[in-house]
């Protein structure tokens, strides 16, 4: 066995040396799925954005620490005259792949396109009233009210060339109902560091270096071959056999084995996504419970008992094989408003949990159905199974109902579930995003994923004030206050933050990106 391993190692080493000698700059990058479309405003989806970031560029960008970085905008600030206006100063000397110059007109066009009715990026720009070009390199965005965090919403809104879009009839975003596809779905013209040279959907895409890119330092990778490989085992085999260089979606169970394989290394890091359980609030009895006269979850004692019954460290150790970061708050560490204190969680205390349940009037526990997705988050179904066992120990008998995310997600948004698992990513890196969708009473555009119909008018008021508060100190205090109430009320039952793992040839370095959108421009070669 050892000799076999050595042989593979030697072969891998040989092949990697061969590759780096021949063309050190080409990187074969494998993921589980392909970008859905090349139209930058038609899908608000991570894989699609990740691919697009190499071809198109945004005004501002986020680095691996989660901080905003200048990209096509060099500076941005709230206007001195009007607190509802954001002023963006654009980078000069930038050209699109077809040679056209990048100007303020293109930004106005792209932001308008991104907030048009058919765009999937629209929700990030709902507060925008108008976008105007002040001069060739300055753009003003007028908001409905003060919006101190608007630049956070721009990290995935790509800038297209106005002239190109008009010439190719792609001023409007691809419409599903229209019955034909749009030129921009298959063709690109961005300002980004790479140019798309060939693409076969779901098979392979080739990106080559844009020699005219504005960045001072050219990236080490001059050619990217992007290879979607859906099957986990095949994707890993392709890395082991030296047919790909970087595998972005590594299953947790393979992390350890790959780390100990010669010639391959694994980079891990936290993802900006928290996994939690939600339950039904309100007086109405639960649909799936044997308690038919009241709702056990509505009793704070029951929620506290469940909190104490969950062994988060055991889930991390057994279910996640160490690849997760247990947490006591439904807010990833990258997000403004996160603190150590919030993150702390108590050790499981089954005795106390049973006492609390008895005190609440359920000495024999109760039954309930837990709805879980089985293809959306890392080991989602296994996490739910573990929780079923843990709650069983304090007498809460849980029936597990497992579905693909396409069927699970509507249950949560239409509130047809009593108890559910969900994961929440925070693209704006601000707590308000969590509050708006998960904590605020379900009302209009608020509370879309408040699956348990939690409602606290005092919190609602505070949450709404966050949208327009310009004084950061006041705002931070409000955020902290909301979190304190959310934690005390046990509105959600957080489990852990997801961890991402990238596996690669061991002479390559690529850091894990908190939104799982690594840029291959950041790849470096050599030990």
């Amino acid at each position: 066995m050892t000799s076999a391993l050595t042989r593979i190692g030697a072969a891998l080493l040989a092949s990697s040396i061969l590759v780096s000698a021949a063309s050190a700059e080409t990187v074969r990058w494998a993921r589980a799925s392909d970008a859905l479309t090349l139209d930058p405003h038609s899908q608000n989806q991570g894989v699609t954005h990740n691919f697009a970031h190499h071809i198109y560029e945004t005004l501002v960008d986020r680095d691996v620490e989660g901080n905003l970085q200048p990209r096509l905008a060099t500076e941005w600030a709230v206007s001195e005259e009007d607190p509802t206006v954001w002023v963006f100063t654009l980078r000069q000397g930038v050209t699109f792949h077809d040679g056209a110059e990048f100007t303020a007109e293109d930004v106005v066009f792209s932001l308008d396109r991104a907030r048009s009715e058919k765009s999937n990026m629209r929700q990030l720009h709902v507060d925008v009233e108008s976008v105007t070009a002040v001069d060739d390199h300055t753009v003003e965005v007028k908001m409905a009210g003060p919006s101190p965090l608007y630049p956070n919403n721009l990290t995935n809104t790509f800038i297209m060339d106005k002239t190109w879009s008009e010439a190719n009839d792609v001023v409007e975003v691809q419409d599903y109902a229209a019955g034909e596809d749009n030129y921009a779905v298959r063709n690109t013209n961005g300002t980004g560091p790479y140019v798309l040279t060939s693409r076969e959907v779901d098979v392979r895409s080739v990106l080559t270096l844009n020699e005219n890119h504005w960045a001072e330092e050219a990236p080490a990778v001059t050619e990217i071959i992007y290879l979607p490989i859906a099957e986990n085992a095949t994707r890993i085999a392709a890395l082991l056999s030296g047919e790909v260089d970087i595998v972005q979606d590594v299953p947790v169970q393979d992390v350890e084995r790959l780390s100990s394989t010669d010639g391959i290394k694994v980079e891990t890091g936290p993802e900006n996504r928290v996994i939690y359980f939600g339950y039904k609030f309100g007086e109405e009895p639960l649909a799936s419970s044997n308690i038919t006269d009241r709702n056990p979850f509505n009793d704070p004692l029951v929620r506290e008992a469940m909190h104490l019954a969950i062994d988060r460290d055991a889930i991390q150790r057994v279910v996640m094989r160490g690849q997760s970061i247990p947490t006591g708050v439904a807010n990833p560490p990258f997000v403004a408003g996160w603190t150590e204190e919030l993150n702390a969680y108590s050790a499981p205390d089954l005795e106390r949990a049973r006492e609390l349940l008895a005190e609440a009037g359920y000495p024999d526990g109760f039954t309930v159905t837990l709805d879980t997705p089985n293809n959306r988050y890392v080991n989602d179904e296994a996490i739910s199974q573990a929780v079923v066992g843990m709650l069983g120990q304090i007498g809460i008998q849980v029936t597990l109902a497992s579905r693909p995310v396409a069927q699970h997600s509507p249950l949560v948004t239409s509130n047809q579930t009593d108890f559910y698992l969900l994961g929440w990513g925070v693209p704006t890196f601000d707590s308000a995003y969590v509050f708006n969708d998960l904590i605020h009473t379900k009302d209009g555009s608020y509370g879309a994923y408040n699956g348990g119909l939690y409602s606290n008018p005092e919190l609602d008021e505070m949450i709404q004030s966050l949208g327009t508060e310009v004084d950061t100190a006041v705002r931070d205090a409000t955020v902290a206050e909301i979190w304190a109430t959310v934690q005390e009320d046990r509105v959600l039952l957080p489990i852990h933050n997801q961890v991402l793992a990238y596996a690669m040839r061991d002479d390559i370095t690529l850091a894990v990106h908190p939104e799982n959108q690594p840029m291959l421009t950041t790849v470096t070669f050599g030990e």
């Binding site: 109902a177 779901d202 859906a230 082991l240 056999s241 396409a406 990513g425 209009g444």
Partner: protein, 327 residues
């Protein structure tokens, strides 16, 4: 003959309609396509707007009518996932699946018939015994495991063959083929073997059983008595008479090879219609799923029709019966 074909055609149309209804019903209610189209972060009001635009709020019969109307014209709409016309997506992927299916059918036929004849003639030998037991492994192991096993041995350990994809392809305009390049042919080997194993075993066992049967018949003994050479008896008389059921099975199996290449295509990331289908199922891409099911139904219906007609041509007894009935 004409009446026979017309009757068969009418039956085929009914089959297609039923499949269309089932395809439409299952896929329409299998999950919320909007949920998968827009991702978790899209606001509900925007989802409602989209649902309206796609006509998903219309009554069932209106949606089904629209579906059939479009299907007849070969239009299955735009893929929710890839935003390209579905018919175009399927046509782009079809060459990959067909090349894989035919390569594996060829392997299954050549080795299946060869080994079947061998094991029938050399019934007692240890090699026959070995082949028969090995073939049991072939049918009892799931395709998935066989594929992963082959990848592990030939791609990871030995590094002889690629583990995924189709290699370099040549675009002939209407057909993107992998048969003209070395890497394309090398990429074809593992998936074709994986896909062929089950059919190979089936054909081999069928040929063996038929051969054993035929070898016992009077006319073979008579041929022996006439002093014909072994070769002429085995291949000229015996094998020829075993081939009718073999052709039927192979024909029908070709349909299922195309239809059920899904697992093999997934394991080897083979860019055919099967992997297109799997990727679509995961996100409830209704137009692609419905079109795929219709396409597979069509393949089966056409193959069945052809096999029936072939029977009619090959087997004189059927013709006599039909003629008798007409009188």
């Amino acid at each position: 003959m004409l009446a026979f074909i017309l009757r068969r055609l009418a039956q085929s149309v009914i089959v297609m309609l039923v499949v269309a209804l089932i395809a439409f019903m299952v896929f329409r209610y299998v999950g919320d396509p909007i949920a998968s189209m827009v991702g978790v972060d899209t606001r509900l009001e925007d989802q409602e707007i989209m649902r309206d635009r796609l006509g998903l709020n219309d009554p069932f019969y209106v949606q089904f009518g629209r579906f059939i109307g479009n299907a007849v014209r070969g239009e299955f709409g735009i893929s929710y996932r890839l935003q390209q016309p579905v018919s175009q997506l399927i046509l782009e992927r079809l060459p990959a699946t067909i090349e894989l299916a035919f390569a594996s059918a060829l392997i299954a036929l050549v080795f299946g018939v060869g080994l079947g004849v061998f094991t029938a003639l050399k019934r007692g030998s240890w090699l026959s015994g070995f082949i028969m037991s090995a073939s049991l492994v072939g049918v009892s192991l799931p395709t998935f495991l066989i594929g992963i096993g082959l990848i592990y041995i030939f791609a990871v350990e030995l590094q002889w063959l690629p583990s995924f994809g189709r290699g370099q392809t040549v675009d002939l305009g209407f057909w993107r083929t992998g048969l003209l390049t070395e890497s394309g042919l090398r990429s074809l080997i593992l998936p074709a073997i994986t896909l062929s194993l089950f059919q190979l075993t089936l054909i081999m066992r069928l040929v063996r059983a038929e051969m054993l049967e035929v070898m016992r018949t009077e006319y073979i003994r008579f041929a022996r008595a006439r002093g014909l050479s072994q070769r002429a008896i085995h291949f000229g008389h015996a094998l020829k008479n075993t081939l009718v059921p073999v052709i039927t099975i192979t024909g029908l199996q070709l349909g299922s090879v195309i239809a059920f290449a899904i697992v093999t295509e997934t394991v080897f990331q083979w860019p055919g219609v099967g992997s297109l289908f799997i990727n679509s199922v995961q996100v409830v891409d209704v137009p692609v799923m419905a079109a795929y099911l219709m396409f597979i139904a069509l393949v089966f219906v056409v193959i069945n029709l052809l096999v029936d007609i072939l029977y009619y041509v090959v087997d004189p007894r059927l013709r006599v019966d039909a003629a008798g009935g007409a009188k």
